[in-house]
Amino acid sequence: MEADEELVRRTLSEGSHHFGVLIQRYADYLFGLGMRLTSGNKELAEDISQQAFMKSFTYLKSFNSQKKFKHWLTGIAVNCYKDLIQKENQYLSLNIKDEPSYTPHLEGNTDFFNLIKPLNEDEKVLFTLKYVYEYQVNEIADLLNQKLGTVKSKLSRALEKLT
């Protein structure tokens, strides 16, 4: 199996078709992350995964091969999630009383989704990355471009809310 970094290098030098391997390799991972962050909203999870792949291709030249591609991709997906949630909130804040209501298609482990319900977007991201994907705190800080102390304090606040 070719390494991610090698595929990135080949994508940049030989063309986008090599990126297809990376898409297939991380499609489940990004979709799963999206499902967990959106509490099982399949449509939003698919949008997150799609946008994350598109953005990662656009900024592929800026990828630092010293870092793990998966971590870099996770950071992009989290940013896409935050952008989408912001857009969703803007849409919901509009007065749409007369519009037919839209019910998202929810799937997955409802216990987990109910568990993280009281958390805000930031806390959901940190909690999921730390306790489901078992990332180290310094890794999370690195991939989200946040200070280590900030991540630690947000995580402890999230845990306080849940216990």
């Binding site: 297809g20 489940d28 979709f31 987990f112 568990l115 489901v132 216990t163």
Partner: protein, 108 residues
């Protein structure tokens, strides 16, 4: 705390597979190629616009001189010259129209 751990363990064991990964990958690559093509087209359009502007600048700069010459020599102008000028202009316009039609046919 125990309940939290149980839920987390259950969640770790849950998988969320992306349906039809090959199709998904193909779709993303198509979107990427589309975006690249549109970026290339925009770049080409900008370059064309720059070239046209530069060309117009070079063509239009001596126009006042030409107009002065035309106005001064209006009394001496020959009708044959006017017909020749009109024929050349219409001919040039016809060629431009044909080229434009061909370009539109290629793009569509």
């Amino acid at each position: 705390m125990n309940q939290l751990e149980t839920i987390l363990e259950k969640e770790k064991g849950t998988s969320y597979p992306q349906r039809n990964k090959e199709l998904f990958s193909f779709y993303i690559l198509t979107l990427i190629n589309q975006e690249q093509a549109s970026r290339k087209l925009k770049r080409k359009l900008w370059i064309s616009l720059l070239l046209i502007t530069a060309g117009l600048f070079f063509l239009l700069s001596p126009i006042s001189e030409m107009m002065n010459y035309f106005i001064l020599n209006l009394s001496n102008i020959d009708t044959v010259d006017i017909f020749i000028m009109a024929a050349v202009s219409y001919g040039f316009l016809f060629v431009l129209m044909v080229l434009l039609k061909k370009r539109i046919a290629i793009l569509s």
